[in-house]
């Protein structure tokens, strides 16, 4: 065994191969990174996934057709010592160093976890990886088990559990197509209530608008009358339907750096941002182009940052 190793190392003489490669320099260029973040994730790309300081490499197989907030990914590693026979060694990668891929661990995770774009795989190499079949490829081949089986499978196992945890986060994203669901339930209640304000309380249009949309309270007598007629004392909450494009935009890794620090009192920061941006833009008349959406997101993030900073201190004082 060891004599084989020596022979092999003598025949191939590129000892500096694992130092900083030119590919690595390329993908860490701040301009490149900014550009790739703006473009958003796409198939055959290498990314770093990060959550609470835990990072993993993935190759993106593709985005889900009906929900582009979810990507199918194949876990990868840049440490050859972690290989197991369940994986593939990929010689040619966007980082210019050999990496290990585990196509059998392919899984769907939310793109909000993607952190750093690291370049594109050659399309044919990506195909070999996706199909988990290196036959015919000079650059992809089957990995081997290490000497210490338990050590590498311990890492393998931990990695797998991490990815299932991430998969699980993807199962709890805000629902898409909200408008379709909301029309029926709550708006009908609200319509009925608004009608009752007219029929039971004889209110004018202006008054009705004030009660329904601007928080004007009913007097005690009015409340009693409404209760008698079988209505609550306050109008049913308006349920807002956030358009899909905002929900999807809020998930993009592009916003990640700024959103990571924001604490939205336990609420989903991305949902809050999408809601704020959507309502900000809905009120505008000067078009909803991409630049406008981006601007609205920026504004929403700024206001979230301020409120989360002040509410954070108040909480810590208690």
């Amino acid at each position: 065994m060891s004599s084989n190793v020596n022979n092999a190392s003598m025949t191939r003489s590129k000892p500096t191969s694992a130092f900083m490669t030119k590919e690595m320099l390329q993908v860490t260029d701040p301009k490149y990174r900014e550009h790739m973040l703006e473009a958003g994730p796409h198939a055959n790309q290498l990314w770093l996934v990060e959550q609470d300081e835990h990072t993993e490499y993935v190759m993106i197989v593709g985005l889900r057709e009906h929900d582009p907030r979810i990507a199918q990914v194949i876990p990868m590693s840049n440490d050859p010592a972690e290989q197991t026979a369940t994986g593939l060694i990929v010689e040619k990668t966007p980082l210019g160093i050999p990496m290990i891929a585990w196509p059998s661990l392919a899984i769907d995770i939310p793109i909000r976890l993607l952190s750093v774009p690291l370049g594109d795989f050659d399309a044919d190499i990506a195909q070999f990886i996706v199909h988990n079949d290196p036959t015919g490829s000079p650059e992809v081949y089957k990995a081997e088990d290490a000497d210490d089986l338990l050590e590498t499978y311990a890492l393998y196992s931990a990695r797998m559990i991490m990815f299932q945890h991430w998969w699980n986060i993807g199962q709890h994203l805000p629902p898409l197509h909200q408008a379709e669901h909301i029309e029926f339930a709550v708006s009908e209640d609200r319509a009925a209530y608004a009608k009752a304000l007219k029929t039971v309380l004889n209110m004018s249009t202006v008054e009705r608008n004030a009660v329904m949309n601007h928080g004007m309270k009913l007097t005690k007598t009015q409340q009693k009358k409404m209760e008698k007629a079988g209505f609550p004392t306050t109008p049913p909450e308006a349920q807002e339907a956030i358009p899909d494009e905002y929900l999807v935009a809020a998930e993009q890794p592009y916003w990640r750096k700024e959103l990571d620090g924001i604490d939205a009192d336990g609420n989903d920061v991305r949902l809050e941002i999408a809601r704020k941006a959507a309502f900000d833009l809905a009120a505008r008349t000067d078009g909803h182009g991409q630049q406008a959406v981006k601007g609205a997101f920026r504004k929403a993030i700024e206001s979230m940052k301020n409120t989360s900073a002040s509410s954070g201190t108040r909480k810590s004082k208690q």
Partner: protein, 430 residues
């Protein structure tokens, strides 16, 4: 009587967002200005430079407190309080690169590359470096110090020692109460199967006294020194064709006579005596320290009792210090901040859809459980590994395991037989 001399201080949230007293009593908020000068340095250097090493040396300085044995590897350290010294810098540099058997640098450490790529700022780089640097030093401690190697040897003996009467293992590895397994890596102790599992109340010195009379043929200090010299000149064999590092088998000294027909190995007898006298369980590191009390020359750089200060509230040694031979057993870089017992995740784990293969999975799990035992299973993530691995991964692992355990049989033979077993189990269940 109401107090009249108090001034009512109005708190202006705008002026003092962190509370009016924050300026007096709290450290100023550390802000991340987003600059990544370390990253710039690595880019322009095509590798780590002075800035990178300094940042990492601070982390090493902190972590090295746990491993005095690693201090001694670097000679003439002039440690001053609050300052970086040669030892810290040495380990910071070593973290960044890997070396081959001749100690020539052959590349950047994968963990370092990941650290560099994943960070966006200096502050983030420093914060994120704690985990990989910690893992690296833990592994160096476990594999490349005299104490670490001795400990790995004792662990192997404890695992392998079988009772001549029943054929069952004599010693048992048990997780400590309160140590939350899936979360931070379980903490383990060893005890004699029939004796209590609670942590022993005896100190390493008392135990050393108790086993003083056990007859063991200890190696001579000269033998040990010779082996250590040869070891320290050995590096890893690097294979550039696949980027893997191979560890060459180093020379070894004997501790005690081997087993013969009518008498167990002397080392086993000694371990039995220690754990019997302990009348309870002990972490592996402490068992090793018992040996060092009278034979310090086996690991001259180790300070006995040092690990005690790293104990946690439950009395067991912190998981990141107490590692087995691989440097990761029992602290499987556990998925961060994740409570595996949480009900949210219990039912939800079907990111890998494999309900169809229930019978196959069951059969494979039974084989794996039978072959590696509970300690082995714990090492690879416990039941969660069996429940969450994709079916073909389970199958591949089973094959790898069988090939290791039965080196005389060919891989084809093993695969054939496994496939037949799987077909049968499926047939009988349909």
């Amino acid at each position: 009587m109401p107090r009249t001399n108090t001034k009512n201080v109005d708190w202006d949230a705008e002026k003092h967002p962190r509370g009016w007293y924050a300026e007096y009593f709290e450290a100023p908020p550390v802000t991340d200005d987003g600059t990544y000068t370390i990253g710039d340095e690595i880019r322009s250097n095509r590798g780590p430079g002075k800035k990178t090493h300094t940042a990492l040396a601070w982390v090493c300085k902190k972590k090295l407190n746990d491993y005095p044995d690693l201090h001694a590897i670097v000679e003439d350290s002039d440690s001053k309080n609050g300052q970086l010294n040669r030892v810290d810098k040495y380990w910071a540099e070593e973290f960044c690169i890997i070396r081959d058997g001749k100690k020539t640098p052959v590349g950047l450490r994968p963990a370092f590359i990941t650290l560099y790529l994943s960070s966006h700022s200096d502050r983030q780089f420093k914060r994120r470096s704690y985990v990989p640097v910690g893992h690296y030093l833990a592994k160096e401690f476990a594999q490349n110090t005299a104490f670490g190697r001795l400990r790995a040897r004792i662990e192997a003996r404890l695992e392998r020692c079988l009772s001549p009467q029943s054929g069952e293992s004599v010693f048992e590895k048990i997780p400590y109460e309160g140590a939350d397994a899936g979360k931070t890596g379980a903490q383990y102790g060893w005890h004699v199967r029939e004796l209590p599992a609670r942590l022993t109340s005896m100190s390493v010195f008392e135990l050393a006294d108790a086993v003083h009379t056990v007859d063991v043929l200890w190696p001579t200090p000269e033998e040990v020194e010779h082996v250590d010299m040869e070891r320290s000149s050995m590096g890893l064999e690097y294979d550039p064709t696949n980027g893997r590092l191979y560890r060459k088998r180093g020379p070894k000294y004997n501790i005690g006579k081997n087993a013969s027909k009518n008498r167990p190995a002397q080392l086993d007898t000694w371990l039995m005596a220690v754990l019997t006298a302990a009348n309870g369980s002990m972490p592996l590191s402490q068992i090793t320290e018992v040996m060092l009390v009278d034979h310090q020359y086996l690991a001259p750089d180790h300070q006995i009792g040092h690990l005690e200060i790293l104990e946690n509230d439950e009395g067991s040694i912190r998981a990141d210090v107490e590692t087995g031979a691989s440097g990761i057993y029992g602290q499987t870089f556990a998925p961060i901040n994740m409570d595996m017992s949480s009900s949210v995740f219990d039912a939800a784990y079907d990111g890998y859809n494999y309900n169809d293969d229930a019978y196959t999975r069951q059969t494979l799990s039974t084989i794996i459980r039978g072959k590696i035992g509970s300690a082995g299973l714990d090492a690879i993530g416990g039941e969660a590994f069996l429940e969450n691995s994709p079916t073909n991964a389970l199958r591949d692992f089973t094959i790898a395991l069988l090939c290791r355990l039965e080196p005389t049989r060919s891989r084809e033979e093993i695969v054939d037989q496994l496939d037949r077993t799987l077909q049968e189990s499926e047939g009988s269940n349909r």
